[in-house]
Symmetry: C2
Subunit: 118 residues, 2 copies
């Protein structure tokens, strides 16, 4: 049954369905990084970052290697970067609607963030 395949896909997507986790994966594009660096660059609570790393680990999107008291993370398969690249193209291909969508989704929030292009 290809039900398993769909479940698998949705699981991976679920793992990628948070901006912080996208940021982590993108951060690892050029190779492994210790958790400390990741956390520092994210600029969020240590515990929170660690939880996001745990999600990526659970879905096997990243793996880690312990060296001394540091833990180095790396993306398991660069195939995922291809997915992110396609998404970037997708975003640009529909730029105006994409931005409108982001604003719509934010609507109701107290602070309205500016949407700039990369």
């Amino acid at each position: 049954m290809q039900d398993a395949l769909r479940k698998f896909k949705s699981n991976i997507f679920q793992a990628l369905s948070h901006p912080t986790r996208i940021a982590i994966v993108e951060m690892l594009r050029d190779g492994e990084l210790p958790a400390g660096v990741i956390i520092e660059r994210l600029g969020i609570e240590q515990a929170n970052a660690s939880q996001h790393l745990a999600v990526l680990r659970a879905k096997q999107i990243v793996f880690n290697r312990k060296e001394g008291q540091q833990v180095f993370y790396a993306v398991r398969d660069p195939l995922l970067f291809d997915v992110l690249d396609i998404m970037r193209r997708y975003f640009h291909a529909h730029l105006s609607e994409s931005m409108r969508m982001l604003n719509d989704l934010d609507a109701g929030d107290s602070k309205k963030e500016e949407v700039d292009v990369e």
Copy 2:
């Protein structure tokens, strides 16, 4: 800021983070289909299917066209199929671990489903 880009990506992934919605998108690979057919093939509650369609609509993954009393759905950009194709390759590339992962995630459920390959 490419913060917007990351937010956009995670939004799309969020929309794809459910097996039913993956099924819908895949179902539309060869072109548009009326909601009725989609619902019938999914074999789930009409309301539930309609809700999933609403999610895909909100994220602009699909668009719809009304004809008479039917509503035809289509995927906005075939780029998404490329993403799904990559995920299939990803799945196969790590077949054994993928299946173990699916089982692990199911662990604790009352009924244990068999994991078959597509």
